[in-house]
Every structure is written in C-alpha cells, then in structure tokens.
Symmetry: C2
Subunit: 115 residues, 2 copies
C-alpha cells in the first residue's frame, strides 16, 4: 500500500520537439509494482501543449487544475477544466493545450508499458 502527495513525487520535463512546457510525475506506476496501469500527472504551462498524435493505447484523464482544450481527430477544440473526466480511445488523434493563464494539470492513465 502506498499513499503519496503530489508535491513529494519527482517532476521531470517531457523532452520532445512536439511538446511545449510539460512536466511529468508518476505518483503510481511501474516502480510501485503496478502490473496493468500507470498513473501519471502532467502539468502544462500556459501556452504549452502535448503532441498532436495517435497511438494504439488509450488515455484515461482527470483534470486536477486549470483549463484548456483537447483537440480531436478532426482538429476541433473541446474545452476542459478542473473536475472533468476525459477519455482518448486507442488510435484516436489528440492533443492537450493549455489555453488559460494558470497551469493545466491532469491525471493521465496509460498501460504500464507506456508509462
């Protein structure tokens, strides 16, 4: 059993040419012995974004703080804000963008092999 606060979890920048202003924390994941899924927390600075891409695994999300948009396969922007739950299907093109003035922070679950 593990109980942890986010402030005590190491935070690392996501380094990729198609990512801007995102840091990643893993409060629960592979290192804890989770066999199926990993819980990451992504913090997106104002103006930052994740890659506009697709992959064969899903995302399950909960928005912890801030506001922004999720871009769908057609390029349409759908607003997200603290308290929303979200889902991206396998192979569905998507992007998270912080369109607000505060950090956009969200839980992003992936299968462990994609942590």
């Amino acid at each position: 059993m593990k109980i942890v606060e986010l402030q005590d979890v190491p935070r690392k920048p996501m380094e990729s040419p198609d990512v801007k202003g995102i840091t990643k924390q893993v409060p629960v994941g592979v290192a804890d012995g989770s066999p199926t899924m990993s819980m990451r927390v992504l913090t997106v600075e104002p103006g930052g974004f994740s890659p506009y891409h697709s992959h064969p695994w899903e995302h399950l999300n909960y928005i912890l703080a801030g506001c922004g948009v999720m871009v769908n396969e057609a390029g349409d922007e759908h607003p997200i804000s603290a308290g929303n739950f979200a889902f991206v299907k396998p192979d569905e093109k998507h992007q998270f963008r912080n369109t607000g003035a505060e950090p956009l922070q969200f839980i992003c679950l992936v299968p462990t092999e994609r942590e």
Copy 2:
C-alpha cells in the same frame, strides 16, 4: 474522445453485505471502449466502508474529496484526504473507511474486466 462531468454520470449503490454506504460511478470504462482500464468514482458516506478484502488485481486511487483511512494488511489505519494518490498492490488486503463528517470521494482504477 469523451469529456464528462461527474454530475452527469449515473450513480448506483454498491450492494454487498460487507459494504456500507457506497455509491459507484464509471465516468470512463468498458462502455466507452476502454480496452485496459476502468475509472470508477466511489462516494463513501460518513461511517461507510468498502470490504476488508484482497483480490489479484491492483487499485490506483486519487482522493477527490473528504477524508478517511485505508486499512492495510496488518489492520493498521493510514489517513487519506483530498489530493492524496494511493496504490493497493494485487493480493494486498485493504479497506477504505470514511472517518470524517463529509462524504469521502475517490477515483479507483481497476483493469476493465473488474469494472
């Protein structure tokens, strides 16, 4: 892609002799086509509790509101409150108890076949 607020997700009581005062919602899960994991939200009324049990799958948790305890394999109570992340390993005996005056609400991820 799906974006949803908790208030728009159906809520059902968990019916079991070893459960007291818990309702369950599934903002993202099998019905959405999630292949690996399901995101449930459990709301535990003051004085309520989940079964004190173990099973061969893990739980990944995020506490949304309220406070309470997680009981571990040895029977020790560990405090939890809004903002905490928690993990229960496969086969680890555990229980969630609401020891506060407000509802204890938390995200509880499981493999889809255990939704």
